[in-house]
Amino acid sequence: MQQPRSAVDHGTFMENFRRIGKAFGSFATRRRPTLIALAMLFSLLVIVAVGPIVSPYDPDALSVMDRLQPPNSKHLFGTDHFGRDILSRTLSGTRVTLLLGLSISLFSIAAGLPLGVVCGYYDRVGLVVMRGVDTMMAFPAIILALALMTIFGKPGIVNVILAVGIVWVPRMVRVVYSATLSIRETTFIEAARALGVSPRRILIRHVTVNLLSPVIVQATFTFAFSIMEVAALSFLGVGVPPNVASWGGMMNEGRMYLTRASWIILFPGLFLALSVLSFNLIGDAMRDQLDPKLREVM
């Protein structure tokens, strides 16, 4: 039987998605910091798209003659101890960073959203699972990530995604859980239940659809924190493998030459800070606009 829509109508997934996008768009254009953040994000995306074409050198090309050169007209950001061009390496690191950030955020949604919804909807499951979630959150992020990297064995892109992703799943579960608890008590869920809609359909069609805004906001913050954490792991030598140009790895390699060639560290760090800043600003703006009540949850 076709479900009657009018009684419990609160929009399809796409309608909700469009509503959120529209609300955010009109809001962002009115606030300068958000606008700047969006411009920064856009530039990062442009770098990801055209980086390999515009980057002046091969990021891995060695040139002993040009080693440790300060920023000049040939090498805008200078060169490192192998004579590699810092600008090209920083641009190539942007791709790696954004790819990792995106994968980790998606991983945290894929694992955290279903778990949080089920925990919030079924009290008994929630009681047990949330205990475990809280226990996971007792471990500081980097310590848990380090332990997970030990378990997974050697450094590698997939291992980093899993390690940092697992660290952020409990935080996503918490947000989804508390939002589900309040949605569960609304009248449209009651109406859907009264109409005899199956629990599975309620969870997917009625609860999850309305979780879109808290999930997007949390995913944005996850993005910001996770790229910082990935950089920290790579900086410690247990993250992205050294043969891939990453911001954290570049800063690690540049430590030996800190006083002689601080540009090796300066530029990747600046890019990292600006990326984190833009995601934080966008997250803040979305939270304020989509649901001011979320301030208490996050």
Partner: protein, 304 residues
């Protein structure tokens, strides 16, 4: 609270069971015979069932035995003890920076909302939340230790052993870089909490009584605004521990944070296990202590 501690131990134990390869063959190397490995496993109790090992681990934990390092053969607890001084001093130093910048900054911003002071602290808070602490540490090191030569760039010698308080200067840059990035959250919370309280009727009453503005701010407003501030300061514990792992590494400080990184690189899993456990148990205790502090600050809160 005991339940939380037990859960933390269980999660750590389970995680460490997932490490591929067994520690006995790692320690003995490739040339070990099968009998040697089996013998070492028997001495460590690794040939028992997982459940027996788990019970043994819990009972050892409560007796203060965290096992031995695979690499150094020293008891883990002793290794942690030897490095505790540096980490505790670094933690206290950063906490002073967090509280010293965060709370006054938040109060100043709240007293004059939307003024240049407020905007300035908002900017600092945003920067603080986005700058990686290790990058800030390296930049500070480059300027104040490298270029200006005012402060030592790395290393730390124990004050307990040498009695030389001057060694604290080695911790100034690490505490600044670690504290600054965490002060941001405290400043923002202090601001919004103070703004809320300043609207209250009892503040108007206090002013009407003719009290000086400073007394109103500190005695009447700050005390009532302090609960969210205390909460967020206690949250920074986890952030400080995370940051300390990297900061100790940057400044070559002989603390627990640099120990865990070395242990991860050497796959010295009893040490990793021990550190995870201690840190998580500390976290549980700090949450508990925070709850108790609420009652101290706000007499309306009573625990029965």
């Amino acid at each position: 609270m005991l339940v939380s501690v037990l859960l933390v131990i269980s999660v750590t134990f389970l995680l460490m069971q997932l490490i591929p390869g067994d520690p006995a063959s790692v320690l003995l190397g490739a040339n070990a015979t099968y009998e040697q490995i089996a013998e070492l496993k028997a001495t460590w109790g690794l040939d028992r069932s997982m459940f027996t090992q788990f019970l043994k681990y819990i009972s050892n934990f409560f007796r203060g035995d965290l096992g031995r390092s695979l690499f150094y053969q020293d008891p883990v607890l002793q290794m942690l003890g030897a490095r505790a001084e540096t980490s505790i001093l670094l933690g206290l130093g950063s906490l002073i920076v967090v509280v010293g910048i965060g709370i006054p900054g938040g109060i100043l911003a709240a007293l004059r909302p939307r003024s240049w002071v407020d905007n300035f602290f908002l900017l600092v808070a945003l920067a603080g939340a986005s700058i990686p602490s290790f990058w800030l540490g390296l930049m500070l090191m480059n300027v104040f230790a490298g270029k200006l030569g005012w402060l030592p760039s790395s290393g730390f010698t124990s004050i307990l052993e040498t009695g030389n308080l001057g060694n604290l200067s080695s911790l100034v840059l690490p505490s600044l870089s670690l504290g600054f990035v965490n002060a941001a959250l405290v400043a923002r919370t202090a601001r919004s909490s103070m703004l809320d309280v300043m609207q209250a009727d009892y503040i108007t009453t206090a002013r009407a009584k003719g009290l000086r503005e400073r007394v109103v701010t500190i005695k009447h407003a700050l005390r009532n605004a302090s609960i969210p501030i205390i909460t967020v300061v206690s949250f920074t514990f986890a952030a400080l521990v995370s940051g300390a792992v990297v900061t100790e590494n940057v400044f070559a400080l002989p603390g627990i944070g640099s120990l865990i990184v070395q242990s991860v690189l050497k796959r010295d899993y009893p040490v990793i296990q021990g550190i995870m456990m201690i840190v998580a148990v500390l976290y549980v205790f700090i949450n508990f202590a925070t709850d108790l502090t609420y009652a101290l600050v706000d007499p309306r809160i009573r625990y029965r």
